[in-house]
Symmetry: D2
């Protein structure tokens, strides 16, 4: 399972090499990358548009759809990694900080089984 | 630099704990998570909407904006990690596969400095 | 009911005046407007993120939510009108053409009650 | 120029007939329609992703691209019309209200040539 041994930096470096080999940094402004990220997020969403929420849990069981969904998730991830590279921003740091902040904003006892305050 | 030592699994587990502590798996269908991802991607994009592409490279220099942008990127990442958890899909594997596929689709010599074929 | 008597041109002109009075045409490039449209579409989607598909039909009954949803729909419409103005493109023409094209792509007999071919 | 003589209601009715003939109201929950709208908005944005803001003003001159852009705008409009039908919400009313509200939020003298307060 690559996730168990792959650091975020390794993924950022793999993406960084891909971009540098094509001299694409010139196109990779934060504005353009954020657009790419939103476009790929929409393509991912397309797989779940017409099924209801519960049924969407089964979509990932179909091998062909699973592969297609994985590719869209990879596209989203690649733009996110490219943006972290472009801004020189530590992604793990941002994620762990945000989870701490959200843990305070949504105390577990108060929000258990609820997505909003009563 | 946390990215240098944090594995994708560690981030997935941190997100997984946050969700489990609130019993939020019931809301985390792939359909809902893909919507959340697209919503956060749009909020990220908002930071760059009115500046032109080149100027957007400077936005990340402003400390307040940098923090806000990092938070939006974290939100995108959290939904992506939650979706990987929900689908039990290896994200590093998907990213590395996609980069290989894209390396064949966009040969470096042919696409250097260009984002499309002539 | 304003929809019964308001032409698309009247809405385009109202939007055009709003933009011209602020000298905002300089910001209203198709790139920026398409970003704005996607951002507002995401804000609209946010109202329905955590409810399931059927329940989302009730959201519009709540007067406060109905007003908020109407405002997000208006924001989407305003960017679409501004883009039609910026490109000098007839929106009604585009819609009626697309409906004809879709009527051929999805023949009623074949697609009745189905969103995809068997 | 159809925009000059086509009312919003006529467009809503054309969309309503298309949906009813296929018995698609069952899929047209506000949740699903808002996802469709966001997906089409992303496809529209794709036409302008890699060009800079100023250059995007020229994209609409190319006849093939103009047709493709018009089709994406029509897709966005169709989902917006379907959502107005699903919620039984007057779109012209919402747009004209929002423009009035925005005229107060962004007084012309103060915001002329600026997209934000100093």
């Amino acid at each position: 399972m690559p996730d168990a041994r792959t650091t975020v930096r390794e993924l950022r470096e793999a993406m960084g090499r891909f971009v540098a080999e094509r001299d694409w940094q010139q196109f990779h402004s934060p504005k353009n990358l954020s657009m790419g990220l939103a476009i790929e997020a929409a393509e991912l969403m397309e797989h779940f548009q017409w099924v209801d929420s519960e049924t969407s849990r089964q979509v990932g069981q179909d091998p062909n759809k699973r592969t297609a969904i994985g590719e869209e998730m990879a596209d989203v991830a690649c733009y996110l990694l490219a943006l972290a590279n472009s801004l020189n921003l530590d992604l793990s740091d941002a994620v762990l900080d945000k989870l701490q902040k959200n843990a305070q904003k949504y105390p577990a006892e108060e929000f258990r089984g609820k997505f909003a305050k009563d």
